[in-house]
């Protein structure tokens, strides 16, 4: 990360960049672990724990989509399909609807496996397609999966959904309360972050990045493009399956409306905002975009009235008041505008990944140089041949 700057950095950014990365990571982890204690101390409503759980679920999804979209540069617009497959696997095998009561770990694995199989099924034939066609095919796949869950009523109970999913029992720890779910999901987020960071820094991760930057050059450097892409697709589907399993347990009720196309788009927005290919970016992007509407609503209908008195907005025009107090209505509008603005003005996102930054700002030769040297091991002497 620190290498990415080089030009036009303010003093604050420079100072922040000097702090070693482990400080940030530890601080984030400590804050995340202490967060529910605010509720136990009576300082915070249970609502915020629920918001945090939802945000963490989106963090998982954004991390998974980041593998395929950010690292490998393939746009998947049907990502929610894998999430739905994971959630339905868990819901069907751990609820009274079909009479199964499997325990947590086998179901977690099975949800991931089914999602990964679906990823393989979509990936094998479609990865030969050009990027934008792939986006449309995955979109169609997402819609087909949702339609199947909606219409095969004999198994999935159609639009009415699957109620009364059992609570998970993890080695005797029965997870029922939101704070417990919070820690459960936090644990998996940490595991996934560690795993994906390692994959990203491995041969496989470098192969993905090379494919994203220049597919032809990557293939000629000996990378097996199909294999790398399928691996990306399968891993990202697996993460979505995991998220789906946890989501089903937490909600204890699912139906097809949780898996609309818009959900896929929201996850895409999160990855774009955070910075494509950047793991901290995906985490921050998901948390910011998911919790922002709630934060804005609470700020204007709860926190600010407490500070300035309940009538501080009375002199404002009515539309402005309702804009802030019913911010939920403008959530998707906000997402759309954020994506357009980010893509135009800061395509590398909030917390950019070094390599992606170099692709989006093609005019900076130093960064292109960096890309070449990291990915393709082209040494100085061979530069002339390229020109």
């Amino acid at each position: 990360m620190a290498k990415s700057g080089g030009k036009k950095r303010g003093p604050i950014a420079t100072a922040l960049g000097r702090v070693p990365r482990w400080v940030y990571l530890t601080a984030a982890l400590v804050l995340a672990v202490l967060f529910p204690l605010l509720h136990s101390a009576g300082l915070m409503d249970m609502l915020w724990i629920r918001v945090a759980i939802r945000s963490l679920t989106f963090v998982l999804l954004a991390l998974g989509l980041n593998v395929v979209m950010g690292e490998t540069g393939l746009l998947n617009l049907g990502y929610v399909a894998f999430f739905a497959i994971g959630a339905y696997t868990t819901a069907l095998l751990s609820s009274p609807s079909l009479g199964f009561h499997w325990s947590f770990w086998p179901l977690l694995v099975l949800s991931m496996v089914f999602a990964m199989l679906a990823g393989l099924l979509v990936g094998l034939p479609t990865l030969r397609l050009r990027g934008d066609y792939l986006a449309i095919v995955t979109l169609a796949f997402g819609e087909i999966v949702r339609t199947v869950f909606l219409n095969v009523t004999s198994i999935t109970n159609g639009a009415a959904g699957i109620p009364a999913i059992y609570t998970p029992n993890i080695f005797g720890w029965v997870v029922t309360e939101p704070p417990q779910f919070y820690y459960l999901i936090l644990f998996f987020v940490v595991v996934v972050v560690i795993a994906l960071t390692n994959v990203k820094n491995s041969r496989v991760g470098r192969a993905w990045n090379a494919l994203r930057e220049d597919e032809i050059a990557a293939i000629h450097s000996g990378i097996d493009a199909t294999r790398a892409k399928i691996l990306a697709m399968v891993i990202s589907a697996g993460v979505a399956g995991l998220a789906g399993c946890l989501f089903a347990y937490y909600q204890s009720f699912i139906n097809p409306t949780y898996f609309l196309f818009m959900q896929s788009v929201i996850v895409v927005c999160m990855v774009v905002l955070g910075g494509m290919g950047s793991i901290p970016g995906a985490v921050i992007g998901a948390i910011v975009l998911d919790s922002l509407p709630d934060v804005i609503r609470a700020t204007f209908s709860d926190w600010l009235p407490r500070v300035f008195g309940p009538t501080f907005m009375a002199s404002w025009p009515a539309w402005l008041q309702s804009f802030f107090t019913d911010f939920e209505k403008y959530r998707l509008l906000l997402f759309g505008i954020v994506v357009v603005l980010v893509v135009i003005f800061r395509p590398e996102g909030l917390l950019p990944d070094t390599l992606w930054r170099s692709e989006t700002h093609e005019e900076d030769p130093r960064e292109q140089e960096y890309t070449r040297q990291t990915l393709f091991d082209i040494d100085e002497g061979n530069q002339d041949l390229e020109a």
């Binding site: 066609y133 449309i136 095919v137 169609a140 909606l150 199909t226 788009v265 403008y330 759309g336 357009v340």
Partner: protein, 406 residues
């Protein structure tokens, strides 16, 4: 299954297909010029339809007016909607897409998705989340009886208007100066620039024409179904895109052909008796399996020289076509494999997927018995058509950049 029924299904299929074509032309022209899928085109179409309905509402058109006045109102609303939609299309192009020209492929696509959500949400805010109804007094309610089936006059009006617009478009593209510039730009944008063509104007013009056609499509849809809603464009946009891909994206006649095929496939799929369709898919499956297990491996083996055809290799190829998924994975993961093996594995996998699709459809129709298909499945037909086309023939039925352009 009577002739009358088939005839009336055909007419409604062609009507729907013509509407898809008006939208698909926008996708395909923009793709032809910029190689970029304008994801927000569905929303542009919705905007056109909603504007037309809203303007019609303002005119206060009612049954009390004489026919000619109603037609004038309709024409006025159409012109207003087309102008507003063209303005919208140009604004999107100028504000969101032009700054991104030349960036890597994924970036403009993301911008288009963002624009699409933004437009959809703005339409909810401005026009409300409910369906907007077109005043019934401008919709011709007459029926004609043709070959024993009653058909709405409106269907013929829609087909006529669409055909006129398509003829106009063909004239513009083939015989005018700007059309020539469009063809040049879509062939090679840099070369066109060097020849002194203002490619930015050409691109803006392409967006304007596409948006105008979409607005007409929006009005026709609103009249045909009576109402339009902020999210109508999502599904119409997807289907029109499917049609454009089906005919070969970037290819103008292809978009029309693809739209007609898709419209007919959908209406037949939903309208015909399902027991019949089940047998259709079973027959398709039988043929597909015969091809996969018997014909295809033999054909493939013809590509090997006589002296290389060891029995072991033949057995391997035969087995490959039987156990396609296993082999596809194995071949994909193998470090080195001979070219014929790789091609065969891919081909066998495609055949298997096709057969699986046919089997699933047969089962679905079997389970549904003789009931009509739930309209929900109608969309699945379109999506399945799209996936199959993209997998087996991504260049579409008529090819991507047709001869006509060259």
């Amino acid at each position: 299954m009577s002739f009358e029924q088939v005839f009336s299904l055909t007419v409604s299929g062609v009507t729907v297909g013509m509407i898809y074509a008006l939208i698909a032309l926008g996708y395909t022209m923009v793709y032809g010029v910029l190689e970029f899928i304008n994801f927000a085109h569905g929303e542009v179409f919705t905007f056109g339809g909603i504007m037309a309905a809203v303007v019609l509402g303002w005119t206060g058109v009612s049954d009390a007016m004489p026919i000619w006045l109603r037609v004038v109102c309709l024409g006025g609303a159409l012109v207003a909607a087309v102008l507003a939609t063209v303005g919208l299309g140009l604004a999107i192009e100028r504000l969101a897409y032009r700054p991104l020209r030349g960036r890597s492929r994924i970036i403009p696509l993301l911008a288009a998705i963002g624009v699409s959500i933004t437009l959809q949400q703005l339409m909810i805010l401005v026009f409300g989340p409910d369906s907007i109804i077109v005043p019934p007094s401008v919709v011709p309610a007459q029926f004609v009886t043709l070959f024993g089936s009653r058909i709405r006059v409106l269907a013929f009006i829609i087909i006529g208007i669409s055909l006129l617009l398509m003829l106009g478009l063909t004239y513009i593209v083939r015989s005018t100066r700007i059309g020539k510039a469009m063809r040049a730009t879509s062939q090679d944008i840099e070369a066109a620039q060097m020849m002194g063509i203002e490619t930015n104007h050409v691109i803006a013009f392409t967006f304007a024409v596409g948006s105008g056609l979409a607005a007409v499509g929006g009005l026709l849809v609103t009249m045909y179904y009576g109402s339009i809603r902020f999210d109508s464009g999502y599904i119409y946009g997807l289907k029109a895109f499917t049609a454009a891909v089906l005919g070969g994206i970037g290819n103008i006649p292809g978009a029309v052909v693809g739209s007609l095929i898709l419209g007919l496939a959908e209406t037949y799929g939903v309208g015909l008796n399902l027991g019949l369709l089940m047998w259709f898919f079973v027959a398709g499956l039988a043929a597909g399996l015969y091809f996969q297990l018997v014909r295809a491996p033999k054909r493939r083996l013809k590509h090997i020289r006589e002296e290389d055809r060891t029995p072991a290799y033949e057995r391997e190829i035969m087995r490959l076509y039987r156990l396609a998924p296993v082999y596809a994975v194995r071949v994909a993961l193998a470090k080195r494999t001979d070219a014929l093996m790789a091609v065969s594995a891919r081909h066998a996998l495609q055949l298997t997927l096709g057969n699986v699709f046919l089997a699933v459809m047969a089962i679905v129709f079997f389970l549904n018995g003789h009931a009509q298909i739930d309209p929900q499945w109608q969309n699945v037909i379109a999506f399945a058509v799209m996936m199959i086309i993209l997998l087996f023939r991504p260049s579409g039925l008529l090819g991507e950049h047709s001869q006509e352009k060259v």
